[in-house]
Amino acid sequence: MRRPARLERAGALTPRDRIWAAIRRFGTEAEFSIADLMALSEQRNDTTLSYIRGLEKAGYLVAGAEQRVPALRQCYELRHLRLVRDVGVEAPRVDAEGKTLAGAVIQQQIWNAVRRMKGADFDWRAVMQACSHPMTMDTLKEYLRRLARGGYLRVMVEARARHPARYRFVTGRDTGPRAPVVDREDRVMDGNTGAVAYDPSLQFQGGEYDR
């Protein structure tokens, strides 16, 4: 059998990417403890534990055959796990309950759709036609506005009565497959480079990407 190819994620790594990459390094044969994983991925226990729990519930990991003595059962760090479902470099997007993160999927689908517009002008309706995940019009429009603020979309025609805003994808800002993330503070962060594309808390609002 041929030796597996080295698969390494390009670009900025999220904590989850690091944890997933660390898990993959053990392969599907070896068992590992959560303590090993924290050391290897250099992540804190709260980040690691919630993600591990989600992965276990979603069926990516199973409890290892060899567990520590009962007295230590409460000690999560010493639990042994094994990877059973290796899906490659892409870290599975699950919450602590093992469910797919819908918000992340929606943003990803919108990002996928706008990247495929091939330089043409579009409005939200064209984007919705290319999305398969249910989403509301407001979620979609809001995310498009954020993308425009982050400099990913150029506003070709401002929204006015009865006419939705028309955008064009800025090809120079096609940083990669991962969707820009909008966080709780309304910042827009690039999913590929990790750079902050828009920060409303900054005084300087006439920035390069602020349109």
Partner: protein, 250 residues
Amino acid sequence: MANVLSIAPINPGGRWAPLTNVSLAARAIERALNRSANLPGVVALYGPSGYGKSMAASYCMNRFDGVYVECRSYFTKKAFVMAILKEMGIRPGRTLTEMMEQAAEQLDLSQRPLIIDEMDHIVDKNAIEIVRDLHEMSRATMLLVGEEQFPRKLLKWERFHNRVLVWQPAQAANLEDARKLAAFYCPGIEIAEDLLGRVRDLSRGTARRICVNLDMIRDHCQKSGVRKIDLEAWGKRDLYTGDAPARRIA
């Protein structure tokens, strides 16, 4: 407020009826994903430009969590594989061999379908064998999107031609598609069959042109405050055909 039509709420609840080509492409991929192990997993979607193939491919990318790569006329073999790796978010290896192994392994592990748009460039560049290699190495499901002549061009590569499980020609937008688009683009406005038929005919099967026309109809209806419109009421107003205007002689 007699003459002003309030803007109807446009919210299809996040779902809307997909157009014919979108369903055809999705069904073809589904067939390939559920094929028995000994069958090849390549699906070809082809048709004239403007038929919404890329839109269908975009939808399929989202629906099946596919890896989407758009070919360019200047792509070499290496550039093509690098584009795939970029879409997978993988740091490319140094040699073409290494990169092919990376791409194949990721396809195999993730079980995500690979969607290749503008396939004609790859065929013209005689780089089709690389797609075949990738398929052999990963056994991944692939959707290849090309222009009308794509199947004929592929004939030259018999070994590849044999690996296509489904040949799916893209269809011109029909009246049913026009009706679906009208529900989406002109919510709350009833457009009579005759006007819709005329829009479809003038748009010559291109969904994008139908959308432009529907926007014009909606705009007119809202300005004049009507909720129903037919061909007669539309009268001699222009509809968009996409043709360049004819020369006018004074």
